[in-house]
């Protein structure tokens, strides 16, 4: 391995790692607030890529149908809860948030289908289309069992992933897509080619890390989320609604998934089931951060990306084995150094 090859591998690894950073941050964000390991996170990212590709091909993306179905189910559940409580004055609000709001981007996509939007509105529309999916899933699937054990939430989450993979096949079809490149820029740095896409990915990861930091430390919503993450009961006593905090966490997680989906779509062919393995590797990064610390998660995810790149060079058939086997030392180190969080004894 020459220095040049090592440099190319490192750059490739950092670009892949940056994608993992975005997704891993989403994992940590959602887990810390809701205690849900959101396994379908990768699927959401893949759906964004597929949505964007459909918009480019001037077709109506499958996301429209998916959001419509989810919105109707969520609204029905919400209305049922409201009716049972007899709080009829909440009905318009529920219909607005669970039915109308999610359907606005869907309606826009439906109205503009057949015309090719310019790049920026197209990407924004793709993101807007996918954003309601996670919060709606949270309402339909997780809200009713919000207080269950982490294990139960995880099992439901895994089941949800399989359901989503099936829905992905139904709504998007089995074909892989690759979207148009975001930039054709490329440069040579000391004989090593660096593509504009890689720079964009790393920049996006950096920007979103910064935004998350600002969000958590300088906004009221961010602080409320942090409070819920630390202690649900305590946060509730301070007037923070955990359900709302959960919805916000899922929404911000969705933004991260959507951004990573948009960034990855021009670099690689995405299938309806591509997201899972990407999400799984990001999850390794999240575990390095103990599903708790944002900075360590970011560093860990970058490490996973670089490790993957070098592992592929050393022995490509065993690449995945090498990536996933770093979990063993990480878990050992975690379990010896961390004070056990006795979650079950809290209440």
């Amino acid at each position: 391995m020459t220095a040049q090859i090592a440099a190319i591998l490192a750059i490739d690894g950092i670009a892949t790692g940056a994608i993992y950073v975005l997704m891993a941050l989403g994992f940590v964000l959602i887990f810390s607030v809701t205690r849900i390991v959101f396994v379908p996170f990768g699927d959401i990212a893949a759906f964004v890529a597929l949505t964007l590709a459909a918009l480019e091909a001037k077709q109506l993306p499958g996301t429209v149908g998916m959001v419509a179905v989810l919105a109707v189910i969520a609204t029905a559940m919400e209305l049922f809860t409201i009716m049972r409580a007899g709080a009829y004055d909440k009905v318009p609000r529920a219909i607005f948030y669970y039915l109308l709001l999610p359907l606005i981007p869907a309606a826009v996509a439906w109205l503009t289908s057949g015309t090719l939007l310019p790049a920026v509105p197209r990407i924004l529309l793709a993101i807007a289309l996918i954003l309601p999916v996670s919060p709606l899933l949270y309402r339909v699937v997780f809200r009713p069992i919000a207080d269950a054990s982490v294990l139960l939430l995880l099992i439901v989450s895994v089941a949800l992933h399989f359901a989503l993979a099936g829905l992905g096949l139904l709504f998007f079809g089995p074909e892989g897509v690759r979207t148009r490149t975001l930039t054709d820029f490329s440069m040579m740095l000391a004989g090593v080619p660096i593509s504009g896409e890689s720079i964009l990915i790393v920049a996006a990861a950096a920007v979103f890390c910064l935004m998350l930091y600002l969000f958590f430390d300088f906004t009221l919503y961010g602080k409320a989320l942090q409070a819920t993450a630390m202690n649900r009961t305590g946060a509730r006593l301070m007037g923070i609604r955990p359900a709302q905090a959960g919805a916000v966490a899922f929404l911000s997680g969705s933004v991260l998934a959507a951004i990573s989906g948009v960034l990855i779509a021009p670099v690689n062919t995405i299938f309806y089931d591509s997201g899972f393995i990407i999400g799984l590797k990001a999850f390794v990064g999240a575990i390095i951060g103990g599903l708790l610390s944002f900075p360590i998660t970011a560093i860990g995810s970058l490490f996973v990306g670089i490790l993957e790149s070098f592992a592929a060079f050393i022995s490509s058939p065993f690449k995945e084995v090498m990536v996933f086997s770093i979990l063993i030392p990480v878990l050992l180190w975690r379990s010896y150094t961390l004070v056990q969080a006795e979650e079950d004894h809290e209440e």
């Binding site: 490739d12 690759r178 062919t269």
Partner: protein
Amino acid sequence: MRRFTLSLAALAGLTLAATSANAQITVGFVTSLSGKASSIGLNYEKGINAAYAYQSEVAGQKIKLIKLDDVSDVSQATQLARKLVEQEKVDIMIGTSSAPGATAMLSAANELKVPLIAISPVRLGIPKKGHPWGICVTQTPSLMVSVIANRMKRDGIKTAGFIGFNDSWGDLVYNGAKKAEASGGPKVTSNERYSRTDTTVTAQALKVLATHPDGVYDGGSATQGALPLIELRKLGYKGGFFGTPSLLNRDFVRIGGKAVEGVQVSAGPVIVTSQLPANHFSKKIGTAFHKVFKKVNGTEADDGFSGYAFDAWVIFLKAANTALKTAKPGTQAFREALMQAIYSNKEVAGVHAVYNFTPKSYYGVDDRSLVVVKLVKGHWIYQP
């Protein structure tokens, strides 16, 4: 006693009815019209529709075609095979669109002693007693690789890198390339693998580049088969790309764009019928197939799969012609005669291959069944 006579008469009546219903040849056809194999399965369906329109009777004997959907499910394929034999009393079966499904149908055929023409690759041992009850019309993976390897040898390519899927398909292509190397083909310089869901193959491509091969084998398939080729071109690789029929895919061309221009793959001759020389075995029947396909389905037959279904029908027609001389349709003797006729008919020309089957193997094609085609400006061009 009276009751016994009555039931005997009823039985006789039933048998008579059954015989009269079976005065025609019955063919059972299974494919996947829904589920994950349906994108391929639909092509088989179109192929068999064209085949039925091409010829629907043999020696004055009408043929009844029963078509069933196995919903891309292996156990369903087995059940349908049983249903076709036990309820519909078919004389011969053709199916189905996935390799596991076809293998499942084949083991059912061996057990029920009804001929099966498999239209997907099968992997099953030859029965120890008697002869097998099935054949398979497709080319074998090792043949697909050896044809392209011979071409590389002819064109003076001495070394070839390998990059392919990290699954059994990648293994098949790699083993084929190694086998070709042993018999004088290009020396294989690397064995790099990636999976369909990988986000990058830069590292693997670098490793292939480091061995400076004259050409590169692509052991991937369909859309994701383009990924390493795009990456290699990006890294400045100038050599040629070589592959198997699994790259003959619209999405491969769409995704690969400029990077896959000039890739050469082995392919069934039916893909390039119009470009074949007039004396090619597939020219005449292939032209007839394309014509009837367009008439029946309204679209061009630009896939290889519909051709397999058509060839299965051609083999069946030839065999039925012979078998009708010795047995009556609807009987076990006719099924046996069909199977023997499939073995005794030599040099049966289809759109894909010249078929010569023996009871020793399910496969019966040779290297005439594959030609080399090259991607030029998004179209596959025959390379004599």
